[in-house]
Amino acid sequence: MNPPLRKLTAVVLLMFLTLMAAASYIQFFRAPELNADSRNVRTLYREYGTDRGPIVVAGKPIAGSESVDDPYKFLRTYADGPLYAPITGYFSVVFNAMTALERQQNSVLGGSDDSLLSQRISDLITGKQPSGGGVELTINPAAQKAAWDTLGNRRGAVVAIEPETGRILALVSRPSFDPNLLASHKKATAQDAWKELNADERKPLLNRAIGGDLYAPGSSFKIITAAAMLENGATPDGKVAAPDHYTPNGTSVAISNPGEERCGDGSGQVPLRQAFLQSCNTTFAKAGHDLGYEKMNTIADALGFGKSLSIPLQVRPSRFPQPQDLAALAQDSIGQRDIQVSPLQMAMVAAAVANKGVLMKPYLVESTMTSDLATISTTSPSEYSRPFSAQTASALREMMIDVVNKGTGGRAALKSVQVAGKTGTAEIKAGVEPHSWFVGFDATDHPKVAVAAFVENGGDGGYNAGPIAAAVIGAVTK
């Protein structure tokens, strides 16, 4: 009976080899496909159940993970949730979704990034629970808080940039939301919060700072028009046309100055400096019209209009489209009609002026770290463009100082530091309050902060947005 028994041994061996092959097939060869299957809730648990790394501002975590006793094992929590929600976004298990930095930096925060490979290997060997890396932001908490507080319950956004580097010091959008509610593992809590936020007509989920919606910049756009004029031969003290009314060719609609006021002494000719501090519409509408779209657009384009930008949040490109005619170009040149901007774009404009014509690429992530908070990589500042010359920048700076000291921007003035800026009051349509803007910086030898403050339907720009910008500049320069 031994020969058949030996053959039977071979049969048993074959049976076991079949099982081993089948197990290998499932656990190795087909594993990626099975793990990617939407029906495999483990993938969710694992992706959403890692000890996700913190998002850090000035050494303090604004987003972190705490250990909880459910299948996901870790709950994402946000300190000062609404204040930082436009930056952090939320990490939701219930909706299988993540937004903003939680999404853009997911590979680092979740621990799957290549830069964390050595950490993963050491975790594997030491048997440590794998955990995600940290992300340190460029945000200055004082500036963020100042922007948040002065904006108050109004709808709007504030973006502050360090001109020499492009580091984003503040990025606020109001109204905001509490990401803790959306990150909750309780289905009812998360869904109720979601329904409420979506039904809210104030649109709290909209990130106004980086172009969730774009807005007309109004007179604050005149910085760009003035830059184009200066680049093309004008000087601050050179005379420019400043009629009371200006009707571009091809239209019968006259452009008048704010409040139907006269510009300068009423002679129809004023120094550019005067037109700027008084924010004369006729001067800049006519100048843009006369310069033509190409010259205007060259500068706007260099400043970032029409280009997508990743900070690494995705910034919606501001619009300066080819106008349909010269009349449209005239209106565009005073920041109306087709011009649509994000507050971040306007902060970049201020930063380019402050940094003597060199625009640095704005960024939010200072560095990425391992789970032990050892730095892996640091973002180095990089030049974005040189939209205009240092000379032009210097002239713009002087004119913007005048705006604060003698013009429409008086409410942005600070005792501690000279502020330079430009107000904007963007008319939208009759019966609706205009958008308020203030775009400026601290006019020191090495400006520390360029800021764009925006209040949606806030009314007069200088009056409403000016103090917000001043508070932010004060918080940074203090």
């Binding site: 009976m1 031994n2 020969p3 058949p4 028994l5 030996r6 039977l8 041994t9 049969v11 048993v12 061996l13 049976m15 076991f16 079949t18 099982l19 081993m20 089948a22 197990a23 290998s24 097939y25 499932i26 656990q27 190795f28 087909r30 594993a31 496909e33 099975l34 793990n35 299957d37 029906r39 495999n40 809730v41 483990r42 993938t43 648990y45 694992r46 250990s67 006793d69 299948p71 094992k73 048997g127 629970q129």
Partner: protein
Amino acid sequence: MSVVTAKTTRKGRGTELFLLILALFAVLMAWVLVHVGVNGGAGASHILPNNFALVSGAAAVVVLVLHFGVRFLAPWADPLILPIAVLLNGLGLVMIHRIDFALVARGGKAELTGQMLLTAVGAVLMLATLALLRDHRKLRRYTYLSLIAGMILLLLPMVPGIGVTINGANLWIRVAGFSFQPAELAKIFLAVFFAGYLVAQRDNLSLAGKKFLGLQLPRLRHILPLMIGWLACMGFLAMEKDFGMALLFFGLFVAMLYVATERVSWLAIGGLLTAGGIWVIVQLASHVRARFNVWLHAMDPALYDAQGGSFQIVNGWFGMASGGLFGTGWGRGYPTLVYASNSDFIISSFGEELGLTGLLVILCLYLLFVARAFNAGLHLNDGFGKLLATGLGFVIALQVFVVVGGVTRVIPLTGLALPFLALGGSSLLTNWMIAGLLLRMSDAARRPFTPSSTPLSSISTGQLPSELREDDTADSAARATEPGTSDDDDQNTQLTEVVRL
């Protein structure tokens, strides 16, 4: 039959003790890892479970009792069988304990205590088997009694009042609060019957009859009793709707028939009967038909969501896939997302938390266990023992194949327990008894031959080739020690060998 002249002179008890300590250590470490894994690994002061000293002490005592029991009752037994059984059973307990955490968290009942109790009972049963059965050949006297006992066991679930239907299969009985799956125990009785019957009938079955297409067909009257036995088994099982058990018994039957007769024709006939049997059962039982459908189209979304669809099996794969090569680690996966994660699907729980490597180790342990059973069969001198050891080894191998093959979609899924690992008392007790029987038989196989002074058997072996001569002496020696087991069948066997030569 092969001849073993130079038998091993090492009893192997030292090896066994060493391996038992290793197995115990592995199981206790696995327990500690579960404790750390489930509790998130926080707090170095709580690395050891609270009752660690008590439980590990008790486990050590049980293992030592088993070891010394074997040392006294079967000193020449194979040193691998017991450590493998202890390791598998221990790992099973650790996984059941690990899954208890999840069950209790969702308001369920912990299963560990019951299974530990059954493990202890199983260990006692193993020792009792060794103590009561000093010579496995005694079992041959109960050939037909075993058939009857096996039949009764298979019939029990159909008795009104004690039979219980669970998940569409009528497999369980419940007596005094305990549920039991009698078919598990029937495995042993039927293996004994097959071994006894086949060793007596092997010549008739292998030699008599016409040749057809190069295959030796048996005579009807020789095959009839077996066919009736088989048909009865299959019939009962079809009525109880248990495809896995039917496959198990029939596979056991064909394998033993093949080993007994050395005739490939039986494999062909067996294959045809399997195909026919499966076809009939698929026709009769919608429950089995559904499983075939699931087997063929598991990933189909419609079937995945369907009642009784592929949800269970596909989730088992999800678990295994998420374990990957090295697994999530003890206590760190989500095995309880899988249905019956501590019983029918326990292998996918291991696949998830220990990875492919862990799963392959477990399969290798089973393979080694079966190989030791076959090894005992190879070295035993009596035909009955050879067949019984083969049958018991094969039934374990086939059960592992049916269960793991079901989970990994090699064959349609059936509800059988993975030997030693899975939650379930009937299976655990039966497998410990099988371990006892295998220890007994390996003891006989490895015991050195001591020449006896008893007279030679009636057949003069002087003219036979030396190979057969020694075989015969072994038999006569056995007969001398056990006068009651003198039988004609083994003599027939030897005559057969002569004819075949």
